[in-house]
Symmetry: C2
Subunit: 573 residues, 2 copies
């Protein structure tokens, strides 16, 4: 079996530790760090209906944290170049894949893990193993996004990573990997995945209305038509965006680490300590940064989950005000330079948690309404939405609304998390994966104004009633801006009907409009107009920002902040 | 001469008082109210080079406050319908106009002012006089915008109004008015404008670089190319937007009235009291709500000044924080529901001051940086920019940055000013003057993201140097959002060059970016590309809002918040 080696470099240390840990768990050994203690593996006690958590972006970006992700990225880029196909490769079973990689190539030499470990830098060459295969990916690494992260896996096995990020289990990824093959791993050194703990075994159940884009991690949205049925989205219909296995947290042993880098002080608090703060409720829409990506993909392929327009929901969240907690951490009023970093209890195979940060000024603003939520729609958070504690950052992209909160750090710096630094950013349409420099763009915080037509759906056949068709949808703008108008057209923008704002929040004050507006419009169709009709919607927010007309000029390689006009094509009978 | 009548209705009272007052001033009598005392008529002591003040919108909307404006509005609407011409009618001299209206029409009866005064309502008919002409405008009034304001002039002379709003002195306006003629005014009752004080006699001198759109009131912008020369716009080049004659204020007798409707308390403070507050400086861009209207006019005619892209400037403003003053007025932290109303010392013939309001939450936000400015670019404000005190509301449309500040009112309500209620709002492209209801739209506060190409200008002939053309401009977003990127294209958006942000503010923190960013880009032109080339720019702000592609779908009847892509057409030699 695989021998556990502790190397001198930190990253290698983390990787190897994790591999050891995965094996340990599988063998029933005690978990090896505090986080592993907090996050329990036994069967769930709390089996809510699962529901979406409004948070992050793409599975692919998540996986780009580690080598496997970059390989997938590469493969997809190649695939796009080759056939302009959609990004999702055909899934094959893990067993099939393992079979292929368990095959010894007799034309190639055998290596021991001791030898492979030495190839962990560009100068020595970058080798990895998967199954019995040994691969030299030196040439692959520097050209592609996330290459810094690739080095975590350099000189070791990628099996534990891909055991979690199972979307790598495709013919395409494996074919590409095989093209880098240089040898066979000594059988005794092969990492047996059958011995690894299955991190997906304790996933919560979800409502069948949620259409999964990926199952592991679970990412799913409801049909858009259901969104306009209620101003507050029922929890079980709320989209779910997970990057990693859902941690199973026991609230009795739950700990929230607090650290203030400015003062050098820290402490640990428990669930009941959070309950002791004054309870604050805020109704807020949470939207995935990649919401409506599928529409942007029609311009040009994009790496990322092909979200429709329903990676968004509006809920009432209740919890402690973050500013109250921060004050108790020694943050003073007006001392608002810097950031508040959040870490989740969901971790990757290197024990790196999901992470994000928001500006300290937003966190400390009493009108910013940032809370450490323990309730959603009047019930305890369910596991998919961050049980027991999730940060709710109204007006801000879902990815900063960190779930399963494990740690808060007040810092002069943003989170160093991959998702803060190398994802959830947007670029010029002319920036591609060969030219992108993630440092040149700010991490998305406030989201732009958008609207979407939820009903009718593209392809529907309608009877134009009395010369009108009824159109319904939502509109929302980040940063606390209100929606002041939605215009709808069925004649390509020659005439616009001002929609009725059916449900919108009242009395929250300027800059504090966190909820979407649901709207409806009876849009005239020309007398006798039959056949294909395209219906457009565009929203205007209280800053009088409006949506760009098409996705063409806002296309970006991550497929985020896609807020062009909503367009559905229907047939009038 | 005209006989001074005090009627029972308030508005009539104001009108007649003003007419009396205008006559009084002309006769050298003492001014009749406190405001008239504060605003002096003697020759200016302080003769700065004049420079723009970043404030309001259209002369036409200003004049719509009174009857004359509505008439002009009507005329323009008709003109647009008839020949789609631009809005500005040919100017004729006041003397010529007076001559025409001094002509008695022997085919029509004579009326006394006593008779005319009775015709001051729809039920009795709405009559006005101008020169010796008597006009029945009953049918004109209800159909057109500002009809509430028309009633101020009902049953009286419009001469004093048009003496100030001299843009009515056109053949077109007079022809329309003449079509409503029903009689001749008794010679003794005619309002002699020669006896009226000339409110324009003490206007400051302005720098010749400012190209006036109108002289009285003075509205002018510099050439756009000059804007990109410096991050801080020199005061003398800063656009000027005046609605009314510039008041000539003696700082020694200057009084600022403070009123808190919530507490019922009020007081008056003086210039030195404002100096006693801690001095706060903020570098902020101020932009006219109608900036770039001329581009929107290319879609369809609009009533309003045909501003180019230079009704904007960036300056350092210094003064007292408004929140400090409000606290001394009894406004408590967190009690931020409601509005802060401002009144200028510039008044119309009914003694109605220019007015506007902002949300109290913005005013009280210590990060909102609202100040009562007495300095611009290190010098005392000049007269065109609001000497001695102007409100600076960073991130907010120019029209709320009230100049010549005379009064501050903390209120549960917005300003009732015409400019707050019936102007500086935007509507659907399908809303016209027949269907508009100003109550349905919020008053513009924060401005949307925009950019403009300042050089080259449309029509320029360029030598594409090494296959590139150099493009420069500004980008700005209201509400404290930063500019994060500007994309420039010379091939219709097929490829985009990311501009270099040459000058942009640093270290102001999230939500507190008040200044524009100046940018430049070397944009590739195709090898051998000659002839007409259209260059586009679009900015992205820190909320990832971006500009709409064209003005077509953001066209609005007031021509405000025009933030579509900037497009200049040049010739490559």
């Amino acid at each position: 079996m695989f021998s556990c080696k502790i190397l001198l470099t930190n990253r290698r240390h983390i990787l190897q530790t994790t591999i050891c840990r995965a094996a340990s768990i599988a063998k029933g050994n005690a978990a090896i760090d505090k986080r592993a203690t907090a996050v329990q593996k036994p069967p769930m006690q709390q089996e809510h209906h699962s529901s979406g958590n409004g948070s992050f972006d793409s599975v692919l970006s998540a996986t780009a944290v580690i080598f496997g992700g970059s390989l997938l990225t590469y493969l997809i880029t190649e695939k796009i170049k080759n056939d302009s196909a959609k990004i999702y490769a055909k899934e094959v079973s893990l067993d099939e894949i393992r079979k292929a990689h368990d095959a010894v190539r007799k034309d190639l030499p055998e290596y021991t893990m001791d030898e492979i470990v030495k190839h962990n830098s560009p100068s020595s060459g970058i080798w990895v193993t998967y199954g019995v295969g040994v691969y030299d990916i030196t040439k692959f690494v520097p050209k592609h996004p996330g290459s810094d992260k690739v080095m975590l896996a350099a000189g070791g096995a990628i099996d534990p990573f891909w055991h979690i990020f199972q979307q790598h289990n495709t013919e395409e990824v494996l074919s590409l990997l095989e093209s880098f093959r240089i040898g066979n791993l000594r059988p005794d050194d092969v990492v047996g995945t059958k011995d690894l703990h299955d991190p997906w075994s304790t996933e919560p159940k979800r409502h069948p209305i949620l259409k999964p884009a990926t199952l592991k991690p679970f990412n799913a949205e409801p049909p858009a038509s259901i969104l306009v049925d209620s101003f507050v989205t029922p929890t079980q219909f709320f989209y779910v965006r997970n990057h990693l296995p859902v941690p199973d947290v026991d609230v009795k042993s739950y700990e929230l680490e607090l650290e203030n880098e400015k003062t050098g002080k820290g402490k640990t608090i428990h669930f009941k300590d959070i309950l002791n703060y004054p309870k604050h409720s805020v109704t807020a829409t949470i939207m995935c940064g990649g919401n409506r990506r599928s529409e942007m993909m029609d311009v040009k392929p994009i790496k990322g989950l092909p979200w429709g327009a329903a990676a968004v929901g509006n809920a009432e969240w209740s919890g402690a005000k973050l500013c109250d907690v921060l004050r108790d951490m020694g943050v003073r009023e007006g001392d608002d330079e810097g950031h508040v970093q959040f870490e989740g209890l969901d971790t990757d195979p290197t024990s790196t948690p999901y992470g994000a940060s928001i500006p300290l000024a937003k966190a400390m603003d009493p009108r910013g309404d940032v809370i450490l939520a323990y309730e959603m729609n009047g019930q305890p958070l369910n596991r998919d939405h961050g049980y027991p504690i999730r940060v709710i950052v109204p007006g801000v992209v879902g990815s900063r609304n960190v779930k399963w909160l494990g740690k808060i750090v007040v810092s002069r710096n943003e989170s160093t998390s991959h998702w803060q630094q190398n994802d959830y950013k947007s670029f010029s349409p002319s920036t591609d994966w060969d030219t992108v420099d993630f440092k040149t763009a700010p991490a998305i915080q406030n989201m732009p104004v958008t609207s979407a037509i939820c009903t009718p759906a593209t392809g529907e056949k309608l009877a134009g009633k009395d010369g009108f068709v009824t159109v319904k949808g939502y509109a929302w703008s980040g940063g606390g801006s209100a929606i002041v108008r939605v215009d709808v057209s069925a004649d390509g923008g020659k005439t616009w009907t001002v929609a009725k704002l059916d449900e919108t929040e009242k009395g929250t004050g300027p800059g504090r409009h966190w909820s979407w507006s649901l709207w409806s419009a009876d849009v005239p169709v020309k007398p006798g107009q039959k056949g294909a009709v395209e219906i457009l919607s565009k929203a205007v927010d209280s800053n009088y920002n409006t949506q760009p007309e098409s996705f063409t000029n806002i296309w970006n390689l991550r497929g985020v902040v896609g807020n062009a006009y909503s367009r559905v094509k229907v047939t009038i009978n």
